[in-house]
Assembly symmetry: C2
Homo-oligomer: 235 residues x 2
């Protein structure tokens, strides 16, 4: 493992992991939900035709819902950040005493002596912009969001969902008997979930083999449950 | 708006917003995806029976995939945190000089004078546990995760998905003609999406009416797209 990983330029690190996180979000559900839906329907109908239609409707719905959901999350983050910045400027202006106390508290919490708390707070409070910046980051824990983030996020999540969803569905395009289609769909999707889980775990720094098996099992469990429940309701 | 909201005890604030975030994640997709799937299938099949089966399979699959996905995300966060803590202790022990530089850099970035940077770093570096804690929080931006978080997250997301998904599907239980079912499903779900969007926006601090309309439009768009695409593939 690379010990220097977290000493890279933090901005770069953040952005690339934002994109990877989006792809992981989209592909994770894209591989799992259409797969489980198709498996569930295979337990209830014998012709692939209805499964293809339902699957395409699901991929369409899922990618739009998740993609636009990501867009909304990004926009909300931006709006939230702007409104908090405004509030902090307001407080620094009109509730200066309280903000001074909060800044001192921060330095007390990280373990500085009372004398240093006093001095450090005094230095920070000299520059209003810097002070607000500091409060945003360390009191509220908010990072300034990238303004293009919402749009990028929507595209990354939506396209990853589609890419993931096509895999479990594709066998049903070519095989008319749903049980036969399911067999190939299960094999293809479990392999993809394993590979996806492996790389996802590598990115997040956990054991890739454990992660690969975990992700594959979730997909298998979801598909088995959907299959069982659909059979139950059909019967 | 309550100006004091972010001055609550930060731990409490974090935990409640974690739970709310889970509910929002689950219900948001639960209301949208099964809704769009049912709408899409209503464009392709005339009997509600297949829609009910597909819808139940989808809710089953979606709640498991998203719930266990949330579990996995929580577990990964914990593993990641533990491995980073170990690394920081290691670095504080064996690369003390570099960690001192990084701590100074932090104080330089927030705007302290060189003299204070020096003193503050010296004070923090006296207590190893505190120092590692500080580095975790402010160099790496990692909060200590709640050990029960993964399980709670899975339940919150999964159950919210089911609660959301039952709403668009329920009309099809009682109405055999899918087009008639769709009409009621559209009305009921759009109202729920509006109400859900309103409260979701209130929590995140953006204009609740704008938010309500945004969330409702996403649902409507996903359903319309699924309906259109399913009709296309059926025809």
């Amino acid at each position: 493992m690379d010990t220097h990983l977290h000493h890279e330029h933090p901005e770069d690190h953040l952005k690339s992991s934002d994109m990877l996180r989006d792809i992981v979000i989209g592909m994770s559900d894209g591989l799992t939900v259409p797969f489980a839906l198709a498996a569930g329907l295979s337990g209830a109908v014998s012709s692939s035709n209805i499964i293809v239609i339902a699957g395409i409707a699901e991929i369409c719905a899922g990618s739009i819902a998740m993609g636009l959901g990501g867009y909304l999350a990004g926009k909300t983050e931006q709006d939230h950040y702007s409104s908090e910045v405004k509030r902090e400027y307001d407080e620094v202006e009109h509730l200066r005493h309280r903000e001074i106390e909060e800044t001192k508290e921060f330095f007390a919490n990280i373990g500085l002596s009372p004398a240093l708390q006093e001095q450090a707070t005094e230095e920070i409070a000299r520059d209003k912009d810097r002070w607000v910046d500091f409060m945003m980051k360390y009191e509220l824990g908010l990072e300034k969001p990238d303004p293009k983030r919402a749009t990028k996020s929507a595209l990354n999540i939506g396209l990853s969902y589609i890419a993931g969803g096509i895999i479990p569905l594709s066998p049903y395009f070519f095989i008319d008997n749903s049980t036969e289609g399911l067999k190939i769909s299960v094999i293809a999707t479990l392999i993809c979930l394993f590979v996806f889980g492996y790389f996802k775990s590598k990115i997040t720094g956990i054991n890739p083999w454990t992660g690969a098996i975990r992700v594959m099992l979730i997909g298998a469990l979801a598909a088995a449950a959907a299959f069982g429940v659909a059979k139950l309701f059909e019967g």
